[in-house]
Homo-oligomer: 266 residues x 4
């Protein structure tokens, strides 16, 4: 399965400003970047650094005034996407050290506060079947309302308000999974089928890998139901949206627009 | 400089519960663990995993009922603790990839919301001098009030309420530093001079390392003024207190007590 | 129905402090205070003022150091407590002006953020039947956990955490009712059957009064199920717990203890 | 002093919706409404009710689809606006019952959490001089940034972020005053000099009335510095913005625009 990606976005910087960009499909074993073109407006400095867990890259830019970014890529997805329902949980004391940080609370995902609800509602299930039940519950109980959330909105807010966009759906799933001692992280990505077309976000959960005795692996899960793991190109991962925004500015800036198109090519 | 550490704590688990412990001084180049004794109550499972950035270890325990931990150690501190005032900031675009995550917002440290205050109050300074001014401001404006904060209290809360304990002081400094594009992280530690004696927490900031051209390093900073970096034994680090609690339980539990003694031995 | 009330509480004031007390059963048509004894420790000033909507009284005290209060009363409850299920809602545009403020958000009851949930879950009901369904839902989905909430906990917090005490149960019901355009207020009260015995809190909702054409009245509703309206003595009312605490101090103070006993006498 | 007011606003209701409007200058002793014209679009129901403390009126409307409101008025302001610096505080135990509710925390004004800051920063002053110092502090430390706050933003948020609009400035002043045991309420109003022209909001504080022994009165205070009390026409008052929005809808709606013009006429 290959997908073709085209993305453009622009913003305005009122003074010389440091910012981080992370918008390119990551070149990792589960997906091969066949071709890629990145166009950055001129800047005072540009530097690339590896991103979270060495999945993808971040680009440091120092610039001022109007700034625009263009990106085109062709990505072949080789990810194996098993039925989550068949996957067991990994016992907490068997979790590898690098998965442990994805159990802890993060900026937008306060799992500690969801323990009663998660135990009451999903406590009779475990592993992948539990994660699927969480996805279904979110899908059934939430209203997809662009504009209803903002950069301050947390999983706790979304859970009470029962609405949001992909970012908020992913945050709630991450909080639920962590509250059930399943490591969960945030994945920014490109996927065909996302409506309206835009940068997308899903969750990734750490469950048993049936091919490795006592081993575990990360599996994509999208509570919006819009992204098929077999057609999804990861940009990067993090503990939540605070870690993998496509644009993080360290001064006030004005966002102008973004335009994303993702299509299946074979 | 050597310090002698003695710590005990106990809690009750109402059902078989997975929990994480992180309470031992880390064995890392800047501090040498000369002797150590850890006593854990019997458990269903015990497993050690490396902690954040491979600084120290976490212990997975699965247990039920009353549970107690005892720890004794002798640690020699070899850390070089330069005067922060002499250290320059590292340009954001020169930050190594592994420092970048410590610029982002975390559970308790919402740096994005402190940008106006930090720019207005500390904007005429930079680097270590700026961090010292932040420490002084916190020390001057905060009331050290045990019991005034809890596990939900964030840097934003503390900043408004002007009170808290070491955890809260560290969170506010971390949020301030990040708002000024200085990577900052949370350090749980043992230090003589902490009053009342207890597990302690300070911040660590990433600034230029004068001995390495274009390089940077992490430096301890304690806005409570109680811990001397030359006498502080690190337990572990993380983005904030969510990552390095000495006890994280994944079910409801009842904390019984903790008792910590730290003394200089030479 | 008569009830006998005995209450004592004490606290410590570190400096000369103004405080408000509101702990006595109100003398209002629906309940007759047969006998009453209030003992206040000596104070610098004492003054009584009418409380919210002239239901009950508040006592201003200015004092310092240890302070104790004792209260004994016999109250006859004459309240008519119809089956809520039989009561219609009052159309919003027919609400009297003095009920309108109880539709608005207050410190602990952010009804605006519950609209989706309330419409989805309770939207097919109205009036008293809807309020009863809300009470049942809270009772079924919440854990009564003394110590799990504090003076900062809001209805939004409780709704996510699914736990709390009478105060939190009442706040959630109030937020739900207001989100459905039913005026709702907070009632502090004494009631036999409260377990453990303590000051109690319930909600009151404004619904149609079958005996008055186009009229409305306030009706008690207790989502904890512990207080019977026919045996409940109101202390006071307000928009939420911020308005009718039995003790509000305007400086830091240390609460010592409270002890409440309420029994049916005939 | 007379002012001429012209206001228009419009919104869209997706289904039959109950809403409250409060946008007309109140007819009260301190200001005389010389002429007034209110144009409401056709509605399913319209009913007027007295507003908070009988200052002004609220209009209940039930309507659907596009809805527009127009208002023209000429108001003569007779308010006496003494120099706040000359006014003493009223002792808490001398406050009348109806002022007491304005000491309590409300939806957006969490005074309990500001006590340390207020005592440390303003504790050497009292009464009107203290309120003026609070206004100056807000004016000096805040950035007036339209768009930086939203309907969820509280005084605590604004205090940390150091920015907002008139609503947020008023909320912070109200929280400060209450933390110092000075009753404070929210006033929606029209005033010339507001830039950009719009519905405006200020605070009102309860201080000693020099003309009445032991008496008190409400005095306007605007931390934005844009509204002159001698030229301000009150619309209504409440505990905070939750109580006196010019438009409160009890279902989701889409706001279209508002346009306000206020000029001095003599």
């Amino acid at each position: 399965m290959s997908i073709s990606i085209s993305a453009r976005f622009a913003f305005h910087l009122f003074e010389p400003t440091d910012l981080l960009l992370q918008f390119e499909a990551a070149d990792i074993p589960e997906q091969e970047v066949l071709s890629t073109t990145t166009k950055l407006a001129p800047a005072l400095h540009v530097a690339r650094v590896p991103a979270h867990n060495h999945i993808g890259e971040r680009i440091w830019v120092r610039a001022e005034g109007a700034y625009a970014v263009g990106y085109e890529a062709e990505v072949e997805i080789n990810r194996i996407a098993p039925d989550l329902a068949s996957l067991a949980a990994v016992d907490p004391h068997a979790l590898p050290g690098e998965a442990v940080e994805y159990l802890f609370d993060s900026r937008y995902c306060q799992a500690d506060r969801m323990q009663n609800f998660v135990a009451d509602r999903f406590g009779d299930l475990s592993g992948g079947a539990q994660v699927l039940a969480m996805c279904d519950w979110i899908s059934d109980n939430f209203h997809y309302e662009p504009g209803a959330s903002n950069a301050q909105t947390t999983a706790l807010d979304s859970f009470a308000e029962r609405r949001g966009i992909c970012r908020d759906y992913a945050h709630v799933l991450i909080a639920f999974a962590r509250a059930s001692t399943i490591p969960a992280r945030y994945v920014s990505c490109f996927a065909p089928g996302v409506d309206p077309q835009d940068f997308h976000a899903v969750a990734e959960v750490f469950l048993a890998d049936p091919s490795v005795p006592e081993g575990g692996a990360w599996y994509l899960a999208d509570p919006t139901g819009m992204a098929d793991p077999a057609k999804t190109a990861k940009i990067g991962i993090g503990r939540d949206a605070a870690d993998v925004s496509f644009l993080t500015t360290f001064r006030h800036s004005r966002f102008e627009f973004s335009e994303v198109r993702v299509t299946e090519t074979k």
